[in-house]
Amino acid sequence: MSGSKKRVVLPGEVVGTSEEFLPGEGTFEEDGKIISSKLGIVKYNDKDMSVSTEPLNPIVTVQKGDIVIGVVTGVRETMVIVDIKKVEGKDRGITGETLGTIHVSKASQGYTKDLRKEFRIGDVVRAKVMQAKPSIQLTTAYPEYGVVKALCTRCRGPMLRKGTMMYCPKCERTETRKISSLYGKMKGF
């Protein structure tokens, strides 16, 4: 049964029996049969004798190592809360937990004293996932991570990058941020 040929299975299709295999990802056991729960390609794993279905249209969840785009919803001295909107490279919306946090120690490559000087509510942030379980921990300690779009705290207009500072052309206010090297260069902003 463990051929390398690609076989597409549909939900409800029998992929093996309990005597042969253990039910893996995308399958479940019923009446001694192992049944696929997803539309996908069957994978027989000889190592642990399990069958799984690799979905053709997988559900997107935030995973360790992903690069994510999110909006800042809360800022404290030592912690920023980000509502993750998209996983980079994935078209589909996120299933499950979407709230991530950035700790001061993981905000930039150098020492950060106060995160309130680096992030503001409403900023769009690009970050990397360091930990997905039990809670999502993000890091922006690389040049390409950080704020990719910021709004002026006085007039809420979009801000421009001016050296290492943010500048509002409307009300001439300057602010500080942990700016990503991709500031203003991302598609769709």
Partner: protein, 259 residues
């Protein structure tokens, strides 16, 4: 239902108004993955019925008080387009569409492995573009294909089909005239693998024997429709596989050109 008319729904040869035999379905056409922006979608034509179904999720359930910490909720919206019937239908939810939404979401919930996605919502949208009797079964059939297309874990697909009673005879899959002037309409949905009934309604009345016969007929027909659903999903991913092949081929061409 039950209107007194002199319309003959079954002729001397036992044929129906549209020339079908008593146990004959209307022609069905299913296509999966027709909408780009939805997570999963399906388009279905069932005789003169035309139905679009789209699925989103599992995603965070809104408003928050609807969330269930143990499982995902299945939210369904059955909607008829204003131009779906001969007299313009006033747009928006009404008593009928709210009821249909509820029974369809309950039927779908019985197969979806909701416990895998706590606090989430799986949203199903069913748009009836053209109606000609039997849209709840058509909608449910399309929605289940869309769910599978969205990669949502399910125990099996769900299939709906109606049976009814016209001219004192039990027949399969009522058409518009048969629904309007017939004696009973019994929409039914099953889980094909187990034969479990997940939706059963009856408009009009029939005897116990007739009802059992109607259920048998609809069940048998559902299995035929199930094959069409599976075929549609297979066809969808045969196309995807081909597109990927083409993409790889064109990428290789570019590489060669660069060299």
């Amino acid at each position: 239902m039950g209107m007194k008319t002199d319309i003959k729904l079954i002729d001397e040869k036992g044929m129906r108004i549209d020339g079908r035999r008593p146990d004959q379905l209307r022609p069905i056409k299913i296509e999966a993955g027709v909408l780009k922006r939805a997570d999963g979608s399906a388009y279905l034509e069932w005789g003169k019925n035309k139905v679009l179904a789209a699925v989103y999720g599992p995603r965070e359930a809104h408003p928050r008080h609807l969330q269930d910490s143990a499982k995902a909720i299945v939210q369904c919206r059955y909607n008829m387009a204003p131009f779906s019937v001969s007299d313009r239908k006033r747009p928006g939810p009404d008593r009928r569409s709210v009821e249909i939404s509820k029974i369809i979401s309950e039927a779908l919930e019985s197969v979806i492995l909701t416990e895998l996605f706590p606090r989430s919502s799986i949203d199903v949208f069913i748009e009836v573009l053209q109606a000609n009797a039997g849209t709840r079964c058509a909608g449910l059939t399309a929605a289940s294909v869309a769910l599978a297309d969205a990669g949502i874990p399910m125990k099996d697909l769900v299939v709906g089909c109606a049976a009814g009673k016209i001219g004192d005879k039990v027949v399969l899959d009522l058409g518009k005239e048969e629904d309007n002037f017939g004696q009973a309409d019994v929409p039914l949905a099953i889980i094909p693998r187990t034969g479990e009934i997940v939706l059963l309604q009856m408009d009009g009345d029939m005897t116990q024997e007739e009802l059992f016969k109607a259920i048998e007929m609809a069940k048998e027909a559902s299995l035929r429709i199930y094959e069409l659903q599976k075929e549609a999903l297979r066809r969808r991913y045969a196309i995807v596989a081909e597109e990927e092949k083409e993409e790889i081929a064109s990428m290789e061409e570019i590489k060669e050109e660069e060299e």
